[in-house]
Structure formats: structure tokens, C-alpha cells
């Protein structure tokens, strides 16, 4: 482990930014944290987490996939892919770091999504252990340790600075390139910080939330639960939950005529929307009940089914604070746990 003194944090940022793009959470004009590119004078936000998740770095809200030139009856397909430049994200929390593993399970399995893979290969993730978890946090429910996040490098706040630990080859490379800023240290201060955080986590309102009643192999039991009707009753179908969710990965593909060619682009989509599954021949999810159920079945049953029991939620709590009708995955899980068949 290596220690960076408080005074040298911005020297570290400058050293990275001299070579590649560095992104970190910054307070915006309305006081919310969002990822911004760092340059001299930009200050790191001290809020627990960003309004939007970090998935944009690897799975952006919109991206161009290819272009077409149409001339008479002829179509030219133009592959517009380019190698991504190296970049570093600093300050990713444990939940968002875990979401990358979930996105990997979708986009890096055969056939690999080359757009995602390109960015994933060129991005280095520096995670920041949570010092003050929030009341909406429940990453522990899914086995994520906020005091010991994954990532290429993990950073802890300690009394007089930061302790860094490289976890991967990418992380080691970045630490080696900035070695002169660091001094050697042992793990005592980190252990103390972790003990403190874990003590706070144990007292959090959602500390007791379990995955009882959901998980792999429970499709029939959970799908037919009568409670879906009351749970989904007030859902507006606005899709906010899917847009702030770090693990929601559904997308749409559409074409746009630029006037000098057709751009085929991909953008985030939401299973909460009625036209998500609508066909000229019919609609398999005709009401908000089916659409609402799909979102939670996917995260809590179908995804674990197909991914060795791993849940499609990381407990970041964004949907808890953003849903306009205060419905969320925690309420769904608590309801399903009551009187479940497991």
C-alpha cells in the first residue's frame, strides 16, 4: 500500500491528466455531483455519490455505431469505430465499480460488444471507499463491501491523506508512473477506516435487507406473486429508475438522417416504456404491471439465473432517491420476502 499526503492529491490528478483524460466527481452548478473531466482548478466533490452512475464511461447514453451512404439503389456501410484513448476515472464508489462486472457479463460475453470492450480496455478505474454511507445504501445486501471496493486501484481516506492499493496490472502501471508522489505505508490506517465504515454500515436502515424470496431458479414462484399488482399500481412508467441505474443496460438502435448520410446510433432504452416490446403483431407486456415486473424479475431472478446467482442490482440507492412516486427495488424485495416460497 502507498500513501498520498492530503496536499499531493491534486499533484496526482495533474500527473495523470498530463498523459490521459481524467474524470472525477465534481459538484455542478446546482450542487449535485457529476463526473467531469479534470483540469487545473477543478475540485473533487466530497459527496457520497454522483447523481448519474458511472456506466456512461463504458456504455454511453448515446453513441454512433456506424454510418451509411445511400446513393440510388446502392448502400455504402461505413465502419466509424476508432480506438478509444486511454482514460482514468477517479472516485468510483463500490456499488458503481461492482456494476461494471454486471455490464461485463452482458457486453463482454460472446458475441462481444466491440464498442463497450474498446472503452473498457482503455479505462482505468480508481475506486474510493465510502467514508459515510447514506441511508439509501444497501450494497451489502448483494455482497458488496463499501469499505473495500473493487477497481484497478482502491483509495481510502485516512486521517492525513489517502492510502492507495493497486489491484490490477493497469492499476500498478498507473501507480508506477506516479510513484514519486507516494510514500510506503502499512495497512493499519486502512483497517481502522474499514472498521469505522463497517460499523456505520451495520447501523444503516437497510442493513437487514436480504435477498430472501428472490434469486436464481425462482421464476415461477416470483412471477406469479399477486403483489405485483399493488407494487406497480402507481408506477408512472417514466423510466427514471432505469436511467439512474448503474446496471440497467437495455438499449435501442435507431437511424438519423443527417442530410449527408444516415447515422445509426444506439441509446439507452427502458423496459418501463410501453413501446419497448410493442410490435405490429402485438404487445407481450400490455400494461405497466408486466413492464414493472419485468424490470425487477430481470434484476432479481432472470439475471441471477443466467449469471451464477449474481444479482443485477448493486444497492447504490439512486432509484430510492429519484423515483417520483417513491417506489423502488427495496420495497419490491421487502414485499417479495414476506410470505415468499423460499
Amino acid at each position: 500500500m502507498k500513501k498520498l499526503s492530503l496536499a499531493k492529491l491534486y499533484d496526482f490528478f495533474a500527473a495523470i491528466a498530463a498523459k490521459e483524460a481524467l474524470y472525477l466527481p465534481v459538484n455542478n452548478e446546482v450542487g449535485k455531483a457529476e463526473y467531469k473531466r479534470w483540469s487545473e482548478g477543478v475540485e473533487l466533490s466530497h459527496q457520497l455519490n454522483t447523481l448519474r452512475s458511472a456506466k456512461d464511461f463504458f456504455f454511453p447514453q448515446t453513441e454512433n455505431l456506424m454510418e451509411f451512404k445511400m446513393e440510388g439503389k446502392k448502400i455504402d456501410i461505413i465502419d466509424t469505430r476508432e480506438a478509444c484513448d486511454d482514460f482514468v476515472i477517479f472516485g468510483v464508489r463500490a456499488c458503481d465499480a461492482a456494476s461494471f462486472d454486471i455490464l461485463d457479463r452482458v457486453y463482454l460475453v460472446d458475441p462481444v460488444d466491440s464498442y463497450y470492450k474498446n472503452r473498457r480496455e482503455h479505462g482505468t478505474v480508481i475506486t474510493h471507499a465510502c467514508g459515510k454511507p447514506a441511508e439509501t445504501c444497501f450494497c451489502g445486501t448483494f455482497g458488496i463491501d463499501a469499505a473495500d471496493p473493487k477497481g484497478d486501484i482502491t483509495v481510502w481516506d485516512v486521517e492525513d491523506g489517502y492510502v492507495f492499493r493497486a489491484n490490477t496490472e493497469k492499476g500498478e502501471k498507473l501507480m508506477a508512473a506516479t510513484a514519486d508522489l507516494f510514500e510506503d505505508t502499512d495497512d493499519k490506517a486502512v483497517k481502522a477506516e474499514q472498521d469505522k465504515v463497517r460499523e456505520i454500515l451495520a447501523k444503516m436502515p437497510l442493513a437487514d435487507l436480504t435477498t430472501e424470496g428472490v434469486g436464481a431458479g425462482l421464476t415461477k414462484e416470483v412471477f406469479d406473486r399477486p403483489e405485483w399488482a399493488s407494487l406497480s399500481e402507481s408506477c408512472l412508467g417514466c423510466g427514471t429508475c432505469t436511467f439512474v441505474c448503474p446496471t440497467c443496460q437495455c438499449y435501442d438502435i435507431r437511424d438519423f438522417d443527417t442530410g449527408h448520410g444516415i447515422q445509426r446510433f444506439r441509446c439507452w432504452d427502458s423496459c418501463m416504456y410501453s413501446d419497448f416490446t410493442k410490435m405490429s403483431a402485438g404487445q407481450p407486456r400490455p400494461t405497466q404491471l408486466e413492464r414493472f415486473r419485468q424490470r425487477f424479475m430481470h434484476k432479481l431472478v432472470y439475471f441471477p439465473d443466467n449469471n451464477d446467482g449474481v444479482f443485477g442490482c448493486v444497492g447504490c440507492g439512486r432509484c430510492l432517491s429519484r423515483c417520483p412516486i417513491s417506489m423502488n427495488i427495496v420495497k419490491v424485495m421487502k414485499t417479495l420476502a414476506k410470505g415468499g416460497n423460499k
Binding site: D76, I77, D113, K117, P284, R285, N306
Partner: protein, 275 residues
């Protein structure tokens, strides 16, 4: 690096009107020949850039080495555009996607029963012509095919001139209502299943058609002695990616584009009835 979302451009070299609202499009690579190989029951994403992209079953048999064919019913954005275009037009194609009918595994050596309604014959035609081209590998073939009227029977000329003249092929056509110039069977496909005298022993059934036909045909196949493990169908849901990533064509934990579109009925029973 390979990227399955990036399509090939193909030329539509022939357009054949099948019924008032179904046309068959022959697609070849610009340099001639097929864009890619496939297996019976697999699908491809067809697109006209700026219009839309949609998943369409490949109706030609893989034994056809010169071109691929797609039969499209006019009912939406892309299909409407395709119906309005001329031969020689390029479109884009990517695939093949999905699991095919198990023609070389579970279906090999079996008697086959095909049950189809309307445009539902399109994906089965790939299997039927594959079987014709590998005639010694399969037993007796029964084809029960119905549509609203004679004019709505797709591939009618091919059925009459080729399928009906293939050894041990028994074609049973039916239309919903009496029609002038039709002296064949009149009635719905599900009822006809019971009337043609099928033998379920060492036989597999392959079924595709409108949901209402499937709904009433399945119990009748069971009634004449078939087990759900002997009956296959091919599903259709809205798709964007074709590779199990865009998230919309799932039935439970299965993606129709990747884990289907071919399912056996005992496998479908394991999934929620959300289709």
C-alpha cells in the same frame, strides 16, 4: 475487430408477390452468392438505413447455395418500405441469429409434421426444403397448412409443383372459408390436425403461425398422441440487437433472439407465459 451489429449490404435480385400482403425477397451478395451461411430456423436482421431494422426468418434452405430468401408480410415500417421498393435495391443484412430447428440432431431419422398458418410457413419452408434436399435422412412428411383464403396461401406454386411431388410428402391445405375455385379442404388448421390422421410414433411436429392457431393446435396435437417433447415452434418478439443484449425479447430468463427463436413446448412450459 468483429462486430455483429455492423451489417452486410446485399442486393435484392428478385421480388416475388406471394399473396396480397406477402412478398418474398431474394438477397445476394454484391459479388454474387450468399452473404452468409445459416441453418433452418435461424433469422437475420434486415434493414433499410434511415427506415428501420427488423428480425426476419430466413425462408430459404441452407442447401440453396446461390441466394437467401426472406418472406415479409406488409404490416409495419420496414415491411411497408420493402413492399414498395424495386429489384436491384440494396438492403443491409446481419446474422444468422438464434438456435435453428435441430434438423441434424433430434429431428434426424424422424417422420415430420409441419403445422403452419399464414406467413407462419416462412420459417418452416427453410426446414421443408432442407428435408427435400436430404430426403433419405427423414421419414414421412405431413404438411398441414392453412390460410384465410386461397390467395393468402404463401408459396402456393412451389407447394403444388414441388412439395406435392416429393416422395412420401403429404400436403394438406385448408382455407378458413368456402371460396370460388377452391375444391380443397375448408376449415381451421387446429381442427384439420385431428382429421388428417397423424401417427405420433417416431414423429416430431414443427409449428408456426398466429398465436390463436398455436393456442388451439397444441391441444389437438396432444389429443392425437403427441407429447410436448415432440413439438417445436418458433417465436417472434420485438428485437433490436439479435444477440441477447438489448434486453427486450426475453421470455423469463431466455432471449428469443439468442436462446430461441426455436423452442420445444416442454421448454416453453418452464417459462412465464409472457408472449
Amino acid at each position: 475487430m468483429e462486430e455483429t451489429l455492423i451489417p452486410y449490404a446485399g442486393i435484392v435480385t428478385k421480388i416475388t408477390g406471394q399473396t396480397p400482403d406477402v412478398k418474398t425477397f431474394r438477397v445476394e451478395a454484391p459479388e454474387g452468392g450468399k452473404l452468409f451461411e445459416h441453418k433452418p430456423g435461424q433469422c437475420a436482421m434486415l434493414s433499410v438505413p434511415g427506415v428501420s431494422e427488423a428480425m426476419i426468418s430466413i425462408t430459404s434452405s441452407p442447401t440453396n447455395k446461390e441466394y437467401m430468401e426472406f418472406s415479409v408480410k406488409k404490416c409495419g415500417c420496414l415491411s411497408g418500405w420493402l413492399h414498395g421498393m424495386d429489384e436491384g435495391q440494396m438492403i443491409t443484412v446481419r446474422g444468422p441469429y438464434g438456435r435453428p430447428f435441430p434438423v441434424d440432431d433430434e429431428l434426424a431419422g424422424k417422420n415430420l409434421v409441419f403445422v403452419a398458418g399464414g406467413i407462419g410457413l416462412a420459417p418452416l419452408r427453410s426446414v421443408i426444403n432442407y428435408v427435400r434436399d436430404n430426403r433419405d435422412k427423414y421419414g414421412r412428411v405431413d404438411i398441414i397448412y392453412g390460410s384465410r383464403s386461397k390467395d393468402d396461401l404463401v408459396y402456393y406454386d412451389e407447394i403444388v409443383s414441388e412439395w406435392m411431388n416429393t416422395p412420401d410428402f403429404h400436403v394438406h391445405l385448408t382455407i378458413d372459408r368456402e371460396q370460388e375455385g377452391w375444391d380443397g379442404h375448408v376449415g381451421f388448421v387446429p381442427n384439420y390436425i385431428e382429421e388428417v390422421g397423424l401417427n405420433p410414433i417416431n414423429t416430431c411436429a414443427l409449428m408456426c403461425g398466429p398465436p390463436i392457431m398455436i393456442k388451439f393446435s397444441l391441444p389437438n396435437l396432444l389429443k392425437v398422441g403427441f407429447d410436448k417433447t415432440q413439438i417445436y415452434t418458433t417465436m417472434e418478439l420485438r428485437m433490436k440487437c439479435g444477440i441477447g443484449k438489448c434486453g427486450r425479447c426475453n421470455i423469463g430468463n431466455k432471449y428469443v433472439c439468442k436462446d430461441g427463436p426455436v423452442f420445444r413446448f416442454d421448454q416453453l412450459d418452464e417459462l412465464p407465459g409472457e408472449y
